[in-house]
């Protein structure tokens, strides 16, 4: 790891100021992706801005029918929160499936969403639940947030402050884990709110994406039967030592059907 200057601001305003003044400054949440990246010398920031001391970024609030989760809220907190379990149990389930206990004790929702790892779990929930990402400079709709491989709509020095999830009528997340890393080979988040259904996929493509054909079919008939003949094209999907694009395309169908069944339980 190359050395860097370390900053531990106490407020969001101070964090933004430090980030703004430097060319190659990176925010750090739990460091669960950033530190491994630095160890491999895949990044060389001049400055690391630790958000761990910014108290206003952590915590879960219920605002009407929305669950608002602060960027620095750890996976373990989301997985065990009574508010999350009551409002959106599928989200608590998802958080409990991330990595392992030590990773969940440090990793945060903001870090995961900002990172847009193709195999990360939270992006599926953000997209599937039509969440809104609030930053220190504005708001982003889920549909225009995940741009591609490790690429989001966040601007230079822009910090996620919280993510707001509207409560669905029904939802479920199904994940086929990579048995070694425990990241998603394919994960599908299905949510039904009124007559609208959203189906969001992670792990399969360069970034999380929705499957319109399944959404339309499920809006008419919310059963796994309704999507059993929908095939996902393998073109452009991820292909690596863990599985081919065709294998992942097939898994999307399987995980989507299981998610619909789980949501209906």
């Amino acid at each position: 790891m190359y050395d860097f200057a370390y900053h531990r601001p106490k407020s969001l305003a101070d964090a933004a100021t430090v980030l703004k003044g430097k060319d190659e400054a990176r925010p750090m949440a739990g460091g669960m992706t950033l530190i491994p990246t630095l160890k491999q010398r895949l990044a060389r920031p001049t400055d690391v801005v630790d958000l761990g001391g910014v108290k206003e970024l952590a915590g879960i609030k219920v605002e009407g029918s929305n669950l608002v989760i602060g960027a620095m809220t750890k996976h373990v907190t989301v997985a065990t929160s009574a508010d999350v379990k009551r409002m959106i149990p599928a989200l608590a389930d998802l958080a409990g499936m991330i990595g392992d206990p030590a990773v969940r004790n440090r990793g945060t929702i903001g870090g995961s969403v900002a990172n847009s790892d193709p195999a990360a779990d939270y992006p599926a929930a953000v997209l599937g639940l039509n969440a809104t990402i609030t930053t220190n400079t504005g708001k982003h709709a889920a549909d225009s947030f995940f741009k591609g491989l490790f690429e989001t709509a966040l601007g230079e020095g822009e910090l996620i402050t919280s993510i707001s999830f509207p409560k669905p009528d029904k939802a479920a997340y199904m994940k086929f884990r990579n048995p070694a890393s425990r990241y998603a080979m394919v994960g599908v988040f299905v949510a039904k709110t009124g007559n609208t259904v959203r189906v969001a996929v992670t792990g399969a493509g360069p970034a999380a994406f929705r499957v319109k054909a399944m959404e339309d079919a499920l809006a008419k008939n919310f059963t796994s039967e309704a999507i059993k003949d929908i095939k996902i094209p393998a073109d452009g999907l991820n292909s690596d030592i863990h599985g081919s694009a065709e294998y992942r395309a097939h898994l999307v169908g399987v995980m989507a059907r299981r998610a619909v069944d789980a949501a209906n339980k």
Partner: protein
């Protein structure tokens, strides 16, 4: 960038000068000479480096020493009450032959203690196997580790630790 850090390790206040990039595990092993905490990978996956920071398990290879400023850190060296009295989890690992080469053991024991406490001393085999996902063992095949943890849970409760 050189920074002063101070924290409590196994109940004793410690301090030192580190670089910003110094990992907590390097601080423990190289600055404090406490080599009980191991490093088994460089991808944050093996769990050999697990210690407790303010009571929860963390991978000390994926945390900067400066992030532990002011924290209470417990390592494998801090578990036994005395030289001839092991922690119930260590005792259970010995009784159940839950280690072979022993490389993964410090992390296994630290993760296991955290697991038992989080589940309020009540565990079943499936839960233990699930919870061990972040700790890799190349020798034992895990069976005896699972047995040891199941045996240690009531022993920890009885001992009040």
């Amino acid at each position: 960038m050189t920074i002063s850090v101070a924290m409590t390790v196994n109940g004793k206040p410690v301090s030192g000068k580190v670089e910003a990039r110094t990992l907590l595990v390097q601080f423990l092993r190289e600055h404090l000479g406490m080599t009980g905490t191991h490093v088994g990978c460089d991808t944050s996956q093996c769990g050999a480096c697990v210690v407790h920071v303010d009571g929860t398990s963390v991978k000390s290879c994926t945390m900067l020493a400066v992030q532990a400023e002011g924290a209470k850190v417990t390592t494998i060296e801090g578990l036994a009450a005395s030289a001839d009295k092991l922690h119930p989890m260590q005792e259970a690992f010995r009784d159940n032959h839950a280690l072979q080469c022993g490389f993964c053991t410090p992390g296994m024991v630290m993760s296991a203690i955290d697991m038992v406490k989080r589940h309020n001393y009540q565990l079943d085999e499936t839960t233990v196997r699930h919870e061990l996902e972040g700790n890799l063992c190349r020798c034992t095949g895990y069976h005896n580790i699972v047995k040891a943890i199941l045996a240690a849970a009531p022993a920890m409760k009885a001992a009040g630790v």
